[in-house]
Symmetry: C2
Subunit: 330 residues, 2 copies
């Protein structure tokens, strides 16, 4: 069983997960696998994974069989598990609790090599619906405070399997970075009586220089204070704090903009590794007037060095105006 431990100085919770150590050993060479025969996420290998949580498949087929086009399964080496009680306790001056939560894998398609930009719009939309379905389901578990959807693409972005997949981790605490964002937005709202993200969208679309792509419902931009070269955010134009509130027409347009932006990143940066994370409100804090869900995409171009780690202070050699120009004009 893994354990959640709280740093006594800045209050950051860390997952200490011995299960994951096994993964490091077992999967060391998994990534290089190209044969679809041995890939647990490929069609026909359903018995190589834990039992599926959700799948979109032809109706006649049974669970854990083939015929699916999207499949959600528990992570084989979960950082957190749904079984057990939370059991908050002290250890002298320290605070800890059981590693309760969820850790799931969203296998985005049966194709071993097809990335999001290669899939039909409708299929990418289904990935978005799968993200939403899982959040809606986990929201019913009152022990959980946050559900984070993220994608590690490429080895240097932390992926251990090449087959395209996203992940979901649900935690019994609100992660520190999320709490900072929600609180920071709240401070701005209290001062200005406006959502900071709505203000960003307004200023950026007027200014234009940091815009990457835009459609009816979404805008993609390189943020003013980008931490990383080519960091790109996708924001819904209509204010909403909760990703899972997404409307049908928005899901359609999010699929379009996500494909477009990842395609641009691939062309400009020659298919880099990248991470994206959906930033959304905590599960028990819905419909906030001051928070605005969005997706942050970070291409992995250089190693983050000591200064960044120690300080939370980033040196970005590529101004976002230049990055956006490259991405916009390709």
């Amino acid at each position: 069983m893994s354990e959640l431990r709280r740093d006594p100085i800045i209050g950051r919770w860390v997952i200490i997960s011995t299960e994951r150590a096994k993964r490091l050993l077992e999967n060391k060479k998994e990534f290089e696998k190209t044969s679809d025969q041995s890939c647990p996420f490929c069609m026909g290998n359903e018995n190589m994974t834990p039992r599926e949580i959700l799948a979109y498949r032809e109706t006649a087929k049974p669970k854990d069989s083939d015929g699916w086009w999207l499949r959600v399964i528990p992570n084989k080496f979960p950082a957190l598990k749904v079984e057990g009680t939370l059991n908050r306790q002290g250890e002298g001056m320290y605070d800890k609790m059981n590693g309760l939560g969820a850790h799931e894998v969203i296998v985005e398609s049966p194709h071993h090599t097809k990335q999001i930009p290669d899939l039909p719009d409708k299929h990418v939309e289904d990935i978005i619906w799968a993200y939403r379905d899982r959040i809606m389901d986990l929201k019913r578990d009152i022990r959980l405070e946050y559900a984070m959807i993220f994608k590690n693409h490429g080895h240097s972005a932390g992926a251990t399997l090449a087959h395209p997949h996203s992940q979901l981790i649900a935690t019994p605490i609100v992660p520190k970075r999320v709490r900072e964002e929600v609180n920071g937005s709240k401070d701005y709202f209290e001062y200005k009586e406006r959502c900071v993200f709505c203000d960003i969208i307004k200023q950026e679309t007027q200014f234009g220089q940091r815009i990457v792509s835009e459609n009816e419902d979404f805008v993609a931009l390189c943020p003013f204070a980008s931490r990383f070269p080519f960091e790109t955010w996708i924001l819904p134009k209509l204010h909403d704090s909760d990703f899972e509130d997404i409307q049908k027409h928005e899901a359609v347009n999010l699929a379009v903009v996500l494909k477009d932006v990842l395609g641009r990143i691939n062309r400009v940066l020659d298919n880099p590794s990248y991470n994206y994370v959906i930033h959304t409100a905590p599960l028990k804090e819905s419909r906030l007037p001051y928070y605005h869900w969005h997706i942050e995409i970070i291409p992995k171009l250089s190693n983050v060095a000591g200064f960044e780690w120690g300080s939370g202070f980033y040196i970005n050699p590529t101004p976002p105006e230049e990055a956006a120009k490259f991405l916009r004009e390709i």
Copy 2:
């Protein structure tokens, strides 16, 4: 000129530095250089660097000549520069200022391949004195709020030159992560009327399981809520918030414990890349009863994946008790 930009949501300052972009191009293959002839940090190549700020050398020799055993120079591709005015200004809703500050390189010795564990104790002590000398000097510049000393060792830890060196970046703002640490310690102090780091040292030395190494003045331990496998902190036993207050006997013992800990990390993890950062109080907030300077060492063993980036939430597969046992018993 680089620019400091503030994220309007969480208030994090980022350096947008176009000078650094040049470095990425120029230094791409610098790291592989083994010939001491072409290394700008080797003895005899003093003309390949900007003019030195400080050097420890035989007294008869002039500045920027050979005969030194430690040398501090400006970074050739500085993220921040001392010239100019701060010039805080708005850009619509955003805040920015000139990239004013300092970015220096501490060339630890003339030896191209000798790492800290390979140097005599006295030489490592001189590295510590050089760190202090530079902080003391920069402290006189009232425009500066923070001086961070850090070391990137190895390519995957962000080093672009192999010759052993540390860096100093001084900033006109207190970095967010530092502010969080100082404020978090203050909250603890207000609640408990004790320094949280002093409490950690007391509990850890009594408990013993997370201790790596210890001498009269310092303790090295793997922290309870370690973010990374084999993360190790070195803390002075005597409370002090400011690294630059270090006493002679402490500098002697810090050299010993630093050599010892880095040597243990090298032996257990087979000479990994690593970063270390000196965490010390802001320049204008000296002698704080609640903050406690220390060094955080982070070996670079695996890629930090999307979950960590997005959430500020870390999954560590190696319990610190196990890491400390390995490091202690080697």
